[in-house]
Symmetry: C2
Subunit: 94 residues, 2 copies
C-alpha cells in the first residue's frame, strides 16, 4: 500500500461526511438496530468460511460504530486514547 495509514479520526470523519445527515435524522435507537444487524452478520461470517465476507462484516460493524459515535458526539479516537493509552489506561480485559 502506498496510502498513508488510516487514522481512526479519518475514518470516523469519512463516515460522517458520507452518512451523518441521514444517520442523525434516523436517530440513535434506530441506528443501533442497524448496528446490531451488522453485528449479527459478523456472527454469521465468523461461523462461515468466506474470508472476504468476514473482512467486510468487520468493516461494516466498525463503520456503524462510527455512525453511532458521530450522532452521539463521541470522538472514538479520543475515547480509546483515554481508556487504553492514557496513564490511567485500564488493564482490565476479560
Amino acid at each position: 500500500m502506498t496510502q498513508p495509514q488510516l487514522t481512526i479520526n479519518d475514518f470516523q470523519k469519512l463516515i460522517s461526511d458520507r452518512y451523518e445527515k441521514v444517520d442523525r435524522e434516523r436517530g440513535s435507537a434506530k441506528t443501533f438496530l442497524w448496528f446490531i444487524e451488522e453485528v449479527g452478520e459478523l456472527a454469521t461470517a465468523l461461523n462461515g468460511k468466506d474470508r472476504e465476507n468476514l473482512q467486510e462484516e468487520f468493516a461494516d460493524v466498525f463503520a456503524w460504530l462510527c455512525t453511532l459515535a458521530n450522532i452521539n458526539e463521541v470522538d472514538l479516537a479520543e475515547a480509546v486514547k483515554k481508556k487504553y493509552l492514557g496513564k490511567d489506561a485500564s488493564k482490565d480485559h476479560k
Copy 2:
C-alpha cells in the same frame, strides 16, 4: 493533543500486544460473548446521561472488535479501506 493521530493499525496492534495471547486461548466464540457484553453496556450507556461512561463503552466495543479481528487474522484498516475507500467502495448504508 500533541500526540500524533492514532491509526486503526496502531490501535489493533496495541490490543494484540496487550491481550492477544489470552484472547486466542479463549477462542473466537467465547470472545464474541465478551464483545456482545460490551455492546450491551453501550446500549445501556446510550440510554443514560453519563457522557464519560458513554465514551468508555464506545472504546470498549472498538477494543473488543479489534480483539475479534486479531484472533481471526483480519486487518481492520485493510477491511475498511477495501469496503469504504476503494474504487469499489460501497455507497450502501441504510
